[in-house]
Amino acid sequence: MPHSPAVEVHGLVKKYAGRAVVDGLDLSAAAGCVTAVLGPNGAGKTTTVECCEGLRVPDGGTVRVLGLDPVADGPALRPAVGVMLQDGGLPTGVRAREMLDHVARMYAHPLDTDALAERLGLGTFARTTVRRLSGGQRQRLALAVAVVGRPRVVFLDEPSAGMDPQSRLAVWELVRELRDGGAAVILTTHLMEEAEDLADQVVVVDHGAVIAHGTVPELLATDVDPRGSATLVVHTATDVDPTSLRDRLGTGFAVDRRSGASLSVTGAVGSSTIAAVTGWLAERDVLVTRLDLGRRTLEDVFLDLTGRSLR
C-alpha cells in the first residue's frame, strides 16, 4: 500500500464567519476500509469531507489524501478521488446516461459505463433528465459518477439520503465491492443502520470534533452503565404495563418501558431473570416477538454520546 492511511486529517479547523464548524478534528481512513463519519446534522461532517475533496481551504490543521494536499496538489490528486456530494451536483437538464458518459471522458481509463450503468440499474432511466429522476435514482447516478474514474479514495456524503430500500442495497453492495477492491471509502451518514452494516471504522463527530471512534463492535462494547450490568430488551406483540414485573424481579433490576411494545430490564441479568420475565409475560398471555440480551445498538451509543435531547 503506497499510502497508509489513505486519508489523514490532523487538527482540522474550518470557520464560517468566525464560527468554527470544525474545531480540531482528527480523522484517519485506511485503504480497503469503509470509514463512516457519523454525527447529527450540523456536526461538521460535510465541511470535513469538503476539506478532503479540496473544495474548502482549511483554516487550520493538515489534510492529506494519498499523501497529497487536496488544495495544493489538486491536479495530481483529483484523478484518484471520487466524490458524491450531498446535494448531488448533477445539472438538471442533462440525461442520466449522458452525465455519466460526460464525466467518464475526464478520465484516461474510466470504467466501462455500460457495465456500470447496468450494475446500478441506470438503464431504466438512461434517457430521463436529472430534473425528472426520483431521489434514489439521482443518488445512484451520483454514485456511478463518483466511481467511474476508478478512484482509490471515494467520498460519499450521505449516500443513502432519499433512497428506496432497493437502491440502498445496490449502493451498499457497490460500496463493499469498492472496499474489497482496495479503495478507501469515506461516507458521512446519520443513519445508524448504514454505519452498523457497512462501516469497518466509525468516527462519531459532534460540534466539529471527534467524540468517539473505533470499529462497530468496539463502540458497542463501550459500557456507559456504571454498574457494568447487562440489559435485556423484550419486544412483545402487545403493549404491557411493566409495574408488577418490577415487584417480581425485586430492587436489583431496573425495569423500563421503552418506545412501542417493548420493555428493558437492566441489572445482573442471568438465565433465571430471563425465565422470570418470560414467565411473567406468559401469565399475561403476552407473546414475546424478540429478545435481545446485552446488545446495544449503535443508536444507543450515539445517543449516549451526543445526547438524547432535540436540538
Binding site: 466524490v83 475526464m106 478520465y107 481509463h109 476508478r150 474489497d180 477492491g181
Partner: protein
C-alpha cells in the same frame, strides 16, 4: 460489472484524460445544454433573428441609416445583441443554477478542475455564438445583406473581446448572487443595455446624457466595434480598448468574489 472490469484498485492506475480532451468535452457539454434549453434558444437565437427581421422589414420605423441599406446598418447591432445573450444572460443564468445545484463543485473535484471548467464554459459560449452568427448572417443574407470580406477579421476580434467582457460579468453576477436574483438581473440588464446601452441604436444617437455614457459601457463599445468592422472594414481602437479594460476589471472582481458554494 464484468469480471475483467471490477471497481476498486485492481484495474489501471487512475489517470486524467489529456487537458484538451477534458476541456473540449466540457465545451461540447455546455453548448449542448444551452442549445437544448428552449428558453435559452429563444433568447440566444430566436429573439436576435426576429429583431433583425423586424428592424429591416418594419419600414414604419424611421431609421437614419447613413445612406446604407437597412440590413447592412442593423446587422452589427443585432450580432452584438446575440453575443450579449450567449456570453452574458444565458451564461450567468446557467452558471448560477449550476452553482446552486452543486454542479460547479462536483466538476471541480473531477480531473476537469476549476480552470478546465472555466475554459470549457468560454469555449461552449463561443460554440453557441458560432451557431448564432451562422443563423443571423443567413437571415441577413436573405434580407439582402452585402457582406465585405475586409470586415470579417475585425468583427471576429470584436466578438471575442465582447465575449470576454460579458463572460466576466456573467461569472461575477452568477458567483455572488442567488440563482433567482441572477435570473431576474441577467434578463433585466440585457433589456436595459439592448435598448439604452448603445447596442442596436448607436451610442452617438441616444438621447442626451445616455449618448455620453453608452460608448463607455461594454454594450456600447461592442456595438461600435462591430459597426466599425462590418460597415467600414476597420477595427476601431477605442471600443476595443474599452472592452479590454472592462474584461480586466470584471474578470478581476469575479476571480476575487466568486463563491463556489
Amino acid at each position: 460489472m464484468t469480471a475483467t472490469d471490477p471497481v476498486g484498485t485492481d484495474g489501471p492506475t487512475p489517470a486524467a484524460a489529456p487537458t484538451s480532451r477534458r476541456v473540449l468535452a466540457q465545451a461540447a457539454f455546455e453548448a449542448r445544454m444551452i442549445l437544448r434549453n428552449g428558453e435559452q434558444v429563444l433568447v440566444a437565437v430566436v429573439i436576435p433573428v426576429l429583431a433583425l427581421v423586424g428592424l429591416v422589414q418594419g419600414t414604419f420605423i424611421e431609421i437614419d441609416t447613413d445612406g446604407r441599406s437597412r440590413v447592412d446598418y442593423m446587422l452589427p447591432g443585432v450580432l452584438a445583441l446575440a453575443v450579449m445573450t450567449a456570453s452574458f444572460t444565458s451564461q450567468a443564468i446557467a452558471t448560477a443554477f449550476d452553482r446552486r445545484n452543486g454542479v460547479l463543485r462536483l466538476m471541480a473535484t473531477t480531473p476537469l478542475g476549476r480552470g478546465g471548467l472555466l475554459a470549457g464554459k468560454v469555449l461552449g459560449v463561443l460554440a453557441v455564438e458560432a451557431v448564432q452568427v451562422v443563423l443571423i448572417c443567413a437571415a441577413a443574407l436573405a434580407l439582402g445583406w452585402e457582406p465585405s470580406l475586409s470586415g470579417v477579421v475585425p468583427a471576429l476580434v470584436g466578438v471575442v473581446l465582447g465575449t470576454a467582457a460579458f463572460t466576466a460579468l456573467a461569472l461575477l453576477v452568477a458567483g455572488t448572487l442567488r440563482a433567482e436574483a441572477v435570473l431576474a438581473l441577467a434578463n433585466l440588464l440585457l433589456l436595459v443595455l439592448a435598448l439604452g446601452g448603445g447596442v442596436i441604436v448607436p451610442a452617438g444617437r441616444l438621447p442626451g446624457p445616455l449618448a455620453a455614457v453608452a460608448s463607455w459601457l461594454p454594450s456600447g463599445a461592442l456595438g461600435d466595434l462591430l459597426r466599425g468592422a462590418l460597415l467600414d472594414g476597420t477595427l476601431p481602437l477605442l471600443p476595443a480598448l474599452v472592452l479590454a479594460v472592462w474584461t480586466v476589471v470584471l474578470g478581476g472582481l469575479a476571480a476575487r468574489l466568486f463563491r463556489w458554494h
